[in-house]
Symmetry: C2
Subunit: 201 residues, 2 copies
Amino acid sequence: MTQPRRRRAATEEKVRRVLDAAEEIMLHEGYAAVTSRNVAERVGLTAPLLHYYFSTIDDLFVAMLRRRSERIVERMAAALTSPRPLRAWWDLASDPRGTALFIEFLAAANHRPALRAEMGRVAREVRRMQMDVLDKILPEYDVDPDEFPPALVAATMQGLGLALVADETAGHETAHEQARAAMSRLVDRIEQRRTRQHGAG
Amino acid sequence: MTQPRRRRAATEEKVRRVLDAAEEIMLHEGYAAVTSRNVAERVGLTAPLLHYYFSTIDDLFVAMLRRRSERIVERMAAALTSPRPLRAWWDLASDPRGTALFIEFLAAANHRPALRAEMGRVAREVRRMQMDVLDKILPEYDVDPDEFPPALVAATMQGLGLALVADETAGHETAHEQARAAMSRLVDRIEQRRTRQHGAG
DNA sequence: GTCTATATTGAGATAGAC
DNA sequence: GTCTATCTCAATATAGAC
């Protein structure tokens, strides 16, 4: 019982910094730039030493996704139980950093089975949460669930966030500011309609 | 005037096959798998020989995107002038192959400036076309352009396509079949409303 | 004009030193 | 338990043969 007594602080701190660095690289240079050398250099380590903390690069990617998805699940749960669920959800779905990283993970998972499996688990859990909440609250928003079923609403929220952030971060001139502003107004209007009918709460 | 008289067929045919192979690899193994070796092997060439046809890998990526985007612009123009523009547009936006490739280009452009510039040009041209048409036809669909401006409608079409195809190709269990079916019904309903009011044509 | 032999760099990973 | 010296392989690219 004395082996794991040693202070883990140093190692855990290093792991955290490695994950931070990897995330930064992935965000600004793409997932293909997340290499042993690149990440190690940014944290002041050597490339082989990085393999001490993460045996394979796959392990590193999965660890990155795990840490991110924990936060996402937490924040999505909080958003969905907040007084204005759609508003909070949209803020999350259109968050530039989170969404840009999501696009990278999406592409990286295409040729990394371990990552794809992990992505599947997260996607399923998050979508489940969203649809459970939508089942209950869509009627309160005066939305006909036959015309706009939860699955469609959820996919639209995510997809619109993806499209906007993709254009924004790449700097494409596609009137994304107008689209973002219009969506924001739309969400506010819908929330107001519900608040008026079902009280603030 | 006799230099370019030689038959280009052989070379052009090879270039075409190289682009086909590269596209196939990008689709199934991700953009990072598009390497000289991989592509060359699939076409029965050697890696260095591939550099005879495309000096740099950047050149190859840009050529791939150019060829694809020509088709996209053509098909989108045809869709937007068809009798049921929204329907035709949605068929394009939710096409699995085209959209999956688009996601890869999106991620690849993140760290390839030449590719990013080309992506920007295409995105801008396509969005411009879409918004010009929407300006005219949204009223015919009985859609309030103040609540759903062209920029928002266009981004939503693209985004929903992205989200659906991403889940479909990765095999995520996120009720994407329901979402796709609901969107298809919705588009049909909207088209019918317009046809009834403005005649078939 | 078309293709091959070869250079150079950097990737992921391991055996073994401290 | 932590880190370093080193291996292998694959990537892009070029010089130069045919």
